[in-house]
């Protein structure tokens, strides 16, 4: 019979923390991550088509904040309402690229919590690889990034930006680093965010303030890339290094970029473990 051929798996559920055997936990998680790819793709397709089937403007909503902020900021600059010394080159491209990277970061922070929240009823009733939801979130972030990229490329051609410099090939690395950094924060926030609504409300407010505290709409002030302030707000160096690679060439913040990227890689592993360990406890609180 077909059944006897399949391997007899044995699972034991006990009150013990799964971290008593971290190696086993990590390998189980890695296996689930691979196992969940198909489900993640399916859920991503579902979310994308459902999201845009019930809107008139569709994918426009992914680029609207970035375009609007750039436009308003340009207007304020032209009218001298705000006095910011812009770097040499096209201010439109500087702002647009900065906003694209910033929006992608914001997206990456919010996506994990949003996707997990939306799947509460499914999580509470079906045992599917939970990592699929994180992959789905990552997928949504990448799709949104791709849509924004189209606008930026169009603007690049329109404003006749320079031929990208030699560091152009580092740009994808920069983008990946920004997405990973955002997603890591997002994953770390999932447990608390599922339990307390405050996290979701707080994030929306936080990003408004955070944007102005980060050199996105203005160049990095001199001294920032060396002092403690860079450590306080790692997303600044990540965005500016990537933008410099694209527009200027060399960046004076590369060292910070590498440090933060490496740290992110370590912290994301912890985030994944936390997600896995917290999930059964969260489920008890999300019963229908």
């Amino acid at each position: 019979m077909e059944k006897s051929e399949t391997e007899q798996t044995e699972v034991v559920y006990t009150p013990q923390s799964p971290l008593t055997d971290p190696a086993r936990l990590l390998s189980a998680q890695w296996a689930d991550l691979k196992r969940s790819r198909e489900l993640a793709v399916r859920l991503l397709k579902r979310n994308l088509s459902a999201r845009y089937r019930q809107t008139l403007l569709g994918y426009f909503w992914a680029v609207f904040p970035m375009v609007a902020t750039t436009a308003v900021w340009l207007l304020l600059l032209r009218r001298n309402v705000i006095a910011v010394e812009m770097p040499i080159g096209s201010p439109v491209l500087f702002l647009l690229i900065g906003m694209m990277l910033w929006q992608t970061f914001v997206d990456a922070v919010q996506a994990p919590l949003r996707v997990v929240s939306e799947s509460k009823s499914m999580l509470a009733k079906i045992n599917f690889p939970r990592e699929a939801l994180l992959l789905t979130a990552l997928g949504e972030v990448l799709v949104n990034f791709a849509i924004r990229l189209i606008i930026v490329i169009a603007a690049w051609i329109w404003f006749a930006g320079d031929i990208p410099s030699a560091t152009f090939w580092f740009v994808p690395l920069g983008v990946l680093s920004i997405i990973l950094f955002g997603t890591t924060i997002g994953v770390l926030l999932v447990p608390l965010g599922i339990l307390y609504q405050d996290v979701m409300h707080g994030l929306a407010f936080l990003f408004q303030v955070w944007l102005f505290a980060t050199p996105v709409l203005y160049p990095t002030p001199t001294g920032w890339s060396h002092g403690w302030i860079a450590w306080l707000n790692p997303i600044g160096p990540l965005i500016n290094t990537t933008r410099d690679w694209l527009m200027v060439g060399a960046s004076d913040q590369v060292a910070l970029f590498c440090t933060f990227s490496a740290l992110t890689l370590i912290v994301v592993c912890f985030g994944m473990l936390l997600y896995r360990v917290a999930m059964p406890i969260l489920l008890e609180r999300m019963q229908s």
Binding site: K3, P15, P18, E38, M122, P191, L192, L283
Partner: protein
């Protein structure tokens, strides 16, 4: 040597917290403890505001078994299923699962109302862990099973709830697990579709799939399952054959009967007649807390009328206790052309059941007094009562008064 059991539940307990705020605080602390790999010992102790939803539950399920979990709402059956399914962790004890497990706890997980039925099949299947190639192969079979060919490319939000359930079951029916957990989901849908679902379960069972099934419909448990565990307030009070556990459950339920009188009404109606209390009287006319199967019984409704009313009808609809349960008896005086006159003051409207044909169990009655066709004086939505065992009903769904005999054969009949 015999195969080890597919599922072993050993001394499993689970605690819950009563207050929401506190339960969230506990959740944060529990996550912290898990990360620091400590506090496992403390799990067996109750903290403030906690109670045991399950306490020291043990049982086994072997290949080919179909186990019924029997118990009142809130007894802990669903929590147990969730732990076996690996959704939650036990607070003490252990659960060992050998082989693939699947759960019919919610049909249509991951359905999105904006997508078409066809798209949702793929989503739902992916959530259940069925691969895309499997679905490609079985798509037509699924659509056939759900009886939805004309609607399959319409958005799901235009489906009726019955159609969604059919689609959900049709996808889930493609699973071929070693153990299937079923929680009440088969109670919905029309009779024909339910019959189809049971046929599919039967097929799975013949292929060696074991079941753990939760249902308030004792009749279906009796047909599907071959063993049972009874749970009350989180503890196992009986296990063995389905019949014996159901009997024990009913005896259990009848020892602490709900008072037959309806409690103080929160918002008494302002119409000219009101229901004051209701209950059962035996043949000599004494109030009895629990009527007995097979006895002549009066269902009595005391009415307080502000004025004398003509043509008053009493309607009684009795259902088996539990969600989505079937109506087992529905009678109205007006259908029987037995409209009554109710004098001003207090009067007792009686429905004589000769004899009471309900088998032992717990029931919910919906009772209304009205003047047909439209004027409803008063209505009681859920009057709960239990029926105690009288003469044996076996697995019957109603008691039929009967006698047995052997008579001399009719000599004119031709033997062929």
């Amino acid at each position: 040597m015999a195969d080890p059991p597919l599922i072993e539940v050993r001394n499993v307990s689970k605690k819950y917290c009563v207050g929401l705020k506190r339960s969230l605080v506990y959740a944060v602390r529990d996550i912290g403890n898990e990360l620091l790999v400590r506090g496992a010992a403390g799990r067996s102790q109750l903290r403030k505001d906690e109670f045991w939803a399950l306490k020291d539950v043990s049982f086994e399920v072997n290949r080919g078994d179909s186990l019924a979990l029997i118990g009142a709402n809130g007894a802990g059956k669903s929590s147990l299923l969730k732990m076996i399914n690996g959704l939650m962790k036990p607070d003490t004890g252990s659960i060992t699962v050998r082989g693939r497990i699947a759960a019919l706890i919610e049909l249509g997980a991951g359905f999105n109302p904006i997508l078409t039925g066809r798209e949702n099949i793929y989503v739902n299947a992916a959530v259940l862990g069925i691969s895309r190639s499997d679905i490609d192969r079985k798509l037509e079979a699924i659509i056939d099973f759900a009886e939805l060919d004309r609607f399959i490319d319409m958005p799901l939000k235009s489906y009726s709830s019955g159609m969604r359930v059919r689609l959900g079951f049709a996808v889930a029916a493609q699973l071929e697990p070693d153990v299937l957990l079923i929680d009440e989901v088969l109670a919905v849908g029309d009779a024909a579709f339910r019959a189809k679902c049971y046929r599919r379960l039967n097929e799975l069972s013949n292929n060696g799939t074991a079941f753990i099934m939760v249902s308030h419909n004792h009749h279906s448990l009796l047909t599907v399952c071959n063993c049972a565990v009874g749970i009350d307030k989180g503890e196992v009070f009986a296990s063995g054959s389905v019949r014996s556990v159901i009997d024990a459950y009913q005896a259990h339920a009848t020892t602490n009967p709900d008072t037959p009188e309806i409690p103080q009404r929160r918002n008494a109606p302002t119409s000219s007649a009101r229901i004051r209390k209701m209950g059962f009287r035996d043949e000599p006319g004494q109030w009895i807390p629990t009527p007995r199967t097979g006895d002549v019984t009066d269902f009595c409704v005391e009415i307080e009328a502000d004025e004398t009313l003509e043509d008053v009808s009493l309607a009684v609809v009795i259902r088996v206790g539990g969600a989505h349960a079937d109506t087992i008896l529905a009678v109205t005086a007006s259908d029987d052309d037995q409209l009554q006159r109710v004098e001003k003051g207090c009067a007792e409207y009686r429905l004589r059941l000769q004899p009471l044909g309900l088998p032992p169990g717990s029931y919910v009655a919906k009772v209304s007094i009205s003047r047909p066709p439209l004027e409803i004086y008063d209505m009681v939505e859920a009057f709960q009562f239990t029926v105690s065992p009288g003469p044996s009903c076996g697995d019957s769904i109603y008691y039929n008064p009967r006698s047995w005999s052997v008579e001399p054969a009719d000599s004119q009949q031709v033997n062929s």
